[in-house]
């Protein structure tokens, strides 16, 4: 499978070739071509592992580092949808980038990130994964700071520093894994570690590291800042794919602990469930309060990642819970599709109006029919309306949540209840998004040349079509992609999945009721101005980020002061004493009119006197020795 390497290298090569094109269109077409090649490659990858075998190859290597690639159902699936979304954004960029400043820089990093993301999904061990993970972080950082204004720079620093912290966590985790006697290979369950405590810490660090990338509460703070400020294709990819790298890592971590079966880290499942629920709730709660379309979507990313984390958590609690794992995988795929579609749609509107504030938009469906329809489909998808893709994965996740709730453990019971609550919130906020954007009165003037160009629309349509296919043919997708991926993720018992029926009436009714409550809640919220409520700062945790920065600065200031002030004191003191010593020296030195002169001796007298004194001192010394008998 050495050719898989080309999947990683082609985007890098493309990025290197981009500056050779002087013409912007040429660059953008090359970008699309690379995206297309990448999709093609991913498909070949998928086909290569179709038979169910796992392909592993080691690249050259040495005693320190042997880069390893691994191709199985999971990596093939993630690689495939990543390539798809990339192609879509690539097409979208053809129009979009002609209106954005510095298109070349963005496009270069667009491709580099593609290579890195493919690398992350193809990595065969944690070190190789970390390699591409870091490249991904750095390359995508340039998307975030693309605008170069104050807000984006701030967001960029948050994004980068947390990304680096994530990388360091992973590095620490790798060291811990090695020391605890566990292999760092991906895709296999760890054998019994020699040191369970260290192994536990390793898993914690892995979850923390991937969690940062995945926007897990409480380390999600970068996400709502970074996603809105990037140019639209960047936002779409950040929310659509990059955070899935975190999810992918978490799934692989779950696999490492054998989904809780070996009982290696017994408390892990509960912890992850709690984190997942917190992520869901916080994300959706804050999303409801946003007036900025992109920020709203960003908070929804947090919330949806909560679903995925919850799925992983429940799988861990259950021990190879097939629903949870498959739900997480499936939801990753789905979220990638609808969230990038939504961002792209918002981006089209933004291109036309220059406005992201929902309360200033409205009535745009006439001008943007295709966008409106695609966004509606995506919104239905994300809210989990039956017939669309979100419904399928949420059903799986709900099954899993129900399963754990059966244990009667209050945490698990409440997590199932919150699951439904979040569904309501999601619906409300998407009713808000679509409603305020496309219906009602048009409040903003459109720019000249606004509209949905063929390139802008076609990408979205492609996504919408895929979503519809998934929504209507869930079993097919499940069998083709998700079940092999679930198997590859280390779940051996998939019997539940093969017999599942998604469109049971109860499930459908449940979802419809949730939707209805959500719509009502939206109406209520709009009437009461609830959505304009400004939550206390601490709730968003972004403030916590700032507090952290402040605290850090204080520590740093304190530390350097703590060091510098005594250091200065010592140097000053020394210098003073040195000067004083020199003064005394000069006084004693007769030439300068020493102290002896003041005793009204002339020079020579003092000297003779001194000699006699020394003699007397010697005598005295001798007497002392004589008397004390030393």
């Amino acid at each position: 499978m050495y050719w898989s390497l080309f999947l990683i290298l082609i985007p890098f090569l493309g990025a290197a070739m981009l500056p050779c094109f002087k013409d912007l269109r040429g660059q953008l077409i090359l970008n699309i071509a690379v995206g297309f090649l990448s999709l093609l490659g991913s498909m070949m990858n998928y086909l290569a592992q179709r038979s169910g075998e796992t392909l592993i190859c080691q690249l050259g290597g040495s005693s320190i580092f042997t880069p390893t690639l691994r191709l199985d159902g999971l990596s093939a699936l993630f690689g495939l949808f990543a390539a798809l979304v990339w192609l879509v954004t690539g097409i979208y960029m053809y129009t979009y980038m002609q209106r954005e400043e510095r298109p070349l820089s963005f496009t270069v990093f667009h491709l580099i990130t593609l290579g890195a993301v493919q690398g992350v999904f193809l990595a065969g061990d944690f070190v190789t994964l970390l390699l591409f993970f870091e490249i991904m972080t750095v390359a995508s950082f340039f998307w975030v700071i693309h605008r170069r204004d104050r807000e984006s720079m701030r967001a960029g620093y948050f994004y980068l520093f947390l990304g680096i912290a994530a990388g360091l966590c992973l590095a620490g985790a790798i060291a811990l894994l090695l020391v605890s006697g566990v292999t760092t290979e991906l895709g296999i369950a760890a054998l019994l570690p020699t040191d369970t405590a260290l192994f536990g810490w390793a898993v914690i660090l892995l979850f923390l590291g991937f969690g940062i990338k995945a926007g897990m509460v409480p380390v999600h703070i970068w996400l709502p800042m970074a996603h809105p400020v990037a140019p639209t294709p960047g936002s779409a990819l950040l929310s659509g794919i990059l955070i899935k790298a975190g999810a992918y890592g978490m799934i692989r971590t779950g696999q490492l602990v054998d989904w809780g079966l070996g009982g290696l880290v017994p408390w892990l499942g509960t912890l992850v469930v709690i984190l997942g629920v917190a992520t869901m709730l916080l994300g959706v709660g804050l999303a409801l309060l946003q007036g900025n379309a992109k920020r709203l979507l960003a908070y929804h990313s947090v919330s949806q990642m909560g679903y995925i984390i919850l799925g992983i958590g429940t799988a861990l609690v259950l021990g190879q819970g097939a629903y949870g794992v498959s739900g997480a995988i499936f939801h990753s795929l789905n979220h990638a599709l609808f969230k990038s579609a939504l961002f792209l749609g918002v981006g089209i509107i933004y291109l036309g109006t220059g406005e992201l504030n929902l309360y200033k938009l409205g009535g745009l469906w006439k001008k943007y029919p295709i966008t409106a329809i695609c966004m509606l489909i995506a919104a239905f998808g994300i809210t989990g309306t039956p017939g669309l893709n979100g419904f399928i994965s949420k059903s799986l996740l709900h099954h899993s949540a129900l399963d754990v709730a059966l244990s009667g453990n209050p945490i698990m019971v409440w997590s199932e209840r919150f699951f439904n609550l979040v569904g309501v919130g999601t619906t409300a906020s998407f009713v808000k998004l679509i409603g305020l954007m496309f219906f009602g009165k048009q409040k903003t003037k459109l720019k000249e040349g606004a509209g949905e160009g063929p390139f802008l629309a076609s990408g979205m349509v492609l996504l919408a079509v895929v979503m519809l296919i998934i929504g209507t043919q869930p079993q097919l997708i499940l069998n083709l992609f998700v079940i092999p991926a679930t198997l590859a993720a280390g779940v051996s018992d998939i019997s539940h999945l093969t017999h599942i029926s998604f469109f049971e009436s109860t499930a459908v009714w449940d979802m419809l009721i949730t939707l209805a409550i959500g719509a009502t809640f939206f109406a209520f919220g709009m009437k009461t101005h609830l959505f304009h409520y400004q939550p206390p700062g601490w709730l968003s945790l972004e403030v916590a980020g700032w507090q952290f920065v402040k605290a850090y600065k204080a520590v740093e200031l304190g530390a350097s002061k703590m060091y510098q002030s005594p250091a200065r004191l010592v140097t000053r003191g020394l210098r003073r004493y040195y000067r004083r010593l020199m003064v005394v020296n000069r006084r004693l030195d007769y030439e300068g009119g020493g102290i002896f002169n003041n005793l009204n001796f002339s020079n020579l007298n003092t000297d003779v006197f001194l000699i006699l004194t020394v003699l007397a001192a010697l005598a005295l010394y001798y007497l002392t020795v004589l008397i004390t008998g030393v």
Partner: protein, 135 residues
């Protein structure tokens, strides 16, 4: 008087030498006239000669001129005397040198007072205005 006193009386040359030494030192210390200082030095050296000669002296001894006829004669130790001759020579030369130097000093400073010379030297230094600084 006691034993101590009698010992002092017995060794009167040594006491005398000590007294001379003290006088010499006192002269050097208290007089700022350079000539007097030289005289002080000479007195001091004189005390040393006394000490040496006394050390070589034998009570009742005669000059160490060999008298083969009279073998009972006790001679004083000749060596210290010979040495002190050398010492005196040295002393004379030192005195000569110092006198020459005093003359030179007088020529340049116009005084033979040590305190005055020191003051003048200091004055010269201060005109040179040394603002010394360490490394």
């Amino acid at each position: 008087m006691g034993e101590f006193g009698s010992r002092i009386v017995q060794n009167y040359p040594y006491v005398f030498a000590l007294a001379l030494f003290a006088i010499g030192v006192y002269t050097i210390l208290t007089h700022s006239n350079l000539f007097k200082k030289v005289i002080g030095i000479n007195i001091m050296e004189g005390s040393i000669y006394v000490l040496f000669i006394a050390a070589g002296n034998v009570r009742g001894g005669v000059a160490p001129v060999l008298d083969l006829a009279n073998s009972d004669l006790v001679y004083v130790h000749p060596l210290p005397q010979a040495l002190m001759l050398t010492g005196i020579v040295v002393s004379v030369s030192v005195t000569a040198l110092s006198l020459a130097l005093i003359m030179k000093l007088y020529r340049s400073y116009g005084t033979v007072d040590a305190r005055e010379i020191a003051r003048l030297t200091r004055l010269g230094n201060e005109v040179g205005a040394d603002v010394t600084s360490g490394s």
